[in-house]
Symmetry: C2
Subunit: 390 residues, 2 copies
């Protein structure tokens, strides 16, 4: 783990050099965790070369080697000086995580420095996962697979989509889900399982999310809306697993009692898109290529109006994932990033079957030298809910 | 509800006048919800006087009266011009909610305007709750009370604090908890029930929270740490209720099997602090007065070393609450805000009994003309866990 810390610090220093920054003050929880392996109230100060320094306000634990106790951020310049570090000339701060007021406050502590937005550097490093991170994702995927296998046993006849989501969350929490779904980019405020059934799966929402649902209350406009799931309805269950800080993403489709033929056909189409992406994705292929591959298939098959939503269609076919959902890369038509070995991407070709509900699947993949490896292995077929009680 | 919107808009316009802003671009989810009653991806533009305008990017719903469709934030100046609004000269933005990059991007769209930090204006308005908001808080408090009454039935012998928290969350979600705990100010990332028992209740954490616990994983350093609760241990259960967007805050103390005398004494002391605050708090009393009242009592009673924590003690005795936990006012030694009628405050005098666990209670109060009204009415005594299975 200390090798891992060292590797990440050096990767950041290389990025800093390219940006022209001679120091980076890492501040946000997700990036403190990425750089140091834990979350604290304080700072991780990375100079252009040499060792980084932790400055810790809380937790108030006994002093640790290399860590400096900090009472107020105002002490930063003095404490860094005391640690023998020269004042920064070009200081990078997290421009996409820090609120404006905090960013400008921290900038003001270093009046001799020019301030550079540095979030993108961290996103870029995090995009490629190390063998250690991949091992955590594999571990998480196994538990996540198992939760999906148990989902049919949680269904009861006459349940609402909301009630079903509550039982699913209970199951995943019992299996060690940490209860946090960190989300980059969009202002997502829920960490709940998204369970959608019937036409309400196509409800528009504030979020650029693949089938977010409209929610049951205007203060939480996402997820199930608390209607009773009817026989023949299809049901999508989409949530991120999180047992160790690293997220995996799986969607599976269920059907109440039986599968209507149009749902079976649309689901089979979704899986054919998944297979086509699996066979195409490899290092060097552009993210936008995969987006177009999926959309071209949807148009040829006559599903263009219900692919990735109906009233509101998501403008991507997948996304990077790791410490947060929606990491780089994002598989949109405008992202010309080539895939690289070590990326982790979730692929989610979903459709809405009008009058029936959502179908499709979502898997998490590791990009390898030779192509992709699927990490989420639970069965992709539509599973029947309530079959055991005819 | 449209009266409520109008009232809030006018309150903001009064605050804007004092700041010297002739427009406010409201952007964050919590403040869009506060100002408009729903959350969308877009903006709520409030001019110095007259009607405000909603500019909506998502959800893609049919056009609404007074709402303008927006594809990109870059269209803002043109769309506002098209709506007959003059260009702002002094534009307020949410400096504590918007990331630096977004704040500066939006600033750049209005090169002719000076930009003013406006978050504090919204915090100040939200501090005083309207009769409508108070009715929602009352409704939420009733459900929240009922969840605490059911907690003892969820305990099983040999449970860990983590497993107990999972069952409690399941219960509150079944009763309609929306699964979101919005939090102002600190970078809190969990929405889970905090269940703490034994000495680990005093574990230090990154958060300035009253007894946060250390958590079970470094990526989620708060809450239960998954140790088995032993006979005689006390257990604190602290979570925010949320069935309608407005949060209520309750902590109650439980004990496994029986109550040790030192825990009973410390708990009785906590309740005596609660009563003293209830009898003192009224409009005009300063927040800092209540902080000192509590701490003076703790020192006189010999509890100074274990009041509000041990290794790490919280530096407040309560906080405002509403759409977010940690609203204004915060009851610290430095907050000289006088209480006002219509404030909602959570009061949480807690202690740690070394070798036994956490004790104390937390209630949510409405400040009234005559004093305070307690909204959270469930029994404050220590409830026994596992008694039914001797």
């Amino acid at each position: 783990l200390s090798n891992e810390r060292e590797r990440r610090k050096e990767a950041l220093q290389i990025q800093m050099h390219a940006l022209g920054a001679d120091a980076f003050l890492v501040t946000s929880p997700v990036h403190l965790f990425y750089m140091t392996g834990r979350i604290f109230d304080g700072f991780y100060y990375v100079p252009a070369q040499g060792d980084a320094v932790e400055l810790i306000r809380r937790p108030l634990t006994p002093a640790q080697a290399g860590a400096i106790r900090l009472k107020s951020p105002a002490q930063l310049p003095d404490l860094l000086h005391g640690a023998g570090l020269p004042p920064p000339k070009h200081l990078a701060l997290e421009d996409r995580e820090l609120p404006y007021a905090e960013y400008t406050y921290l900038s003001g502590l270093f009046p001799g420095a020019s301030i550079l937005g540095g979030s993108a550097l961290l996103y870029r490093i995090r995009m490629i996962k190390s063998p250690y991170e991949i091992s955590l994702l594999r571990e998480g995927a196994k538990v996540h697979d198992e939760t999906h296998r148990r989902i049919p046993s949680l269904y009861r006849e006459g349940m609402t989509d909301w009630a079903f989501s509550v039982e699913i969350e209970h199951q995943i929490r019992r299996m060690g889900h940490l209860g946090i779904m960190r989300c980059a980019g969009i202002r997502l405020e829920t960490c709940s399982a998204i369970v959608l059934s019937g036409d309400s799966a196509g409800s528009p929402s504030p979020y650029d999310y693949s089938l977010p649902g409209g929610g049951r209350h205007p203060s939480a406009p996402m997820g199930p809306d608390n209607h009773v799931m009817r026989p023949g309805d299809t049901v999508n269950v989409d949530f991120c697993g999180n047992i160790n800080g690293y997220l995996t993403d799986i969607t599976r489709t269920y059907a109440v009692g039986y599968v209507k033929p149009e749902a079976a056909a649309a689901h089979a189409f979704s899986l054919s898109v998944m297979r086509a992406i699996e066979h195409t994705a490899r290092p060097g292929v552009l993210c936008s290529d995969l987006y177009h591959l999926a959309w071209d298939m949807a148009e040829s098959a006559g599903y263009a109006d219900c692919f990735m939503g109906t009233v509101q269609q998501a403008k991507f076919i997948g996304h990077g994932i790791g410490l947060q959902v929606n990491e780089l890369p994002v598989l949109t038509k405008s992202d010309a990033t080539p895939l690289q070995s070590g990326m982790i991407i979730a692929i989610e070709p979903k459709l809405i079957c009008p009058g029936v509900g959502p179908v499709g699947a979502e898997n998490t993949y590791l990009v390898t030298e030779g192509g992709t490896e699927r990490l989420t292995l639970c069965n992709e077929d539509i599973a029947i809910l309530g079959h055991s009680k005819p």
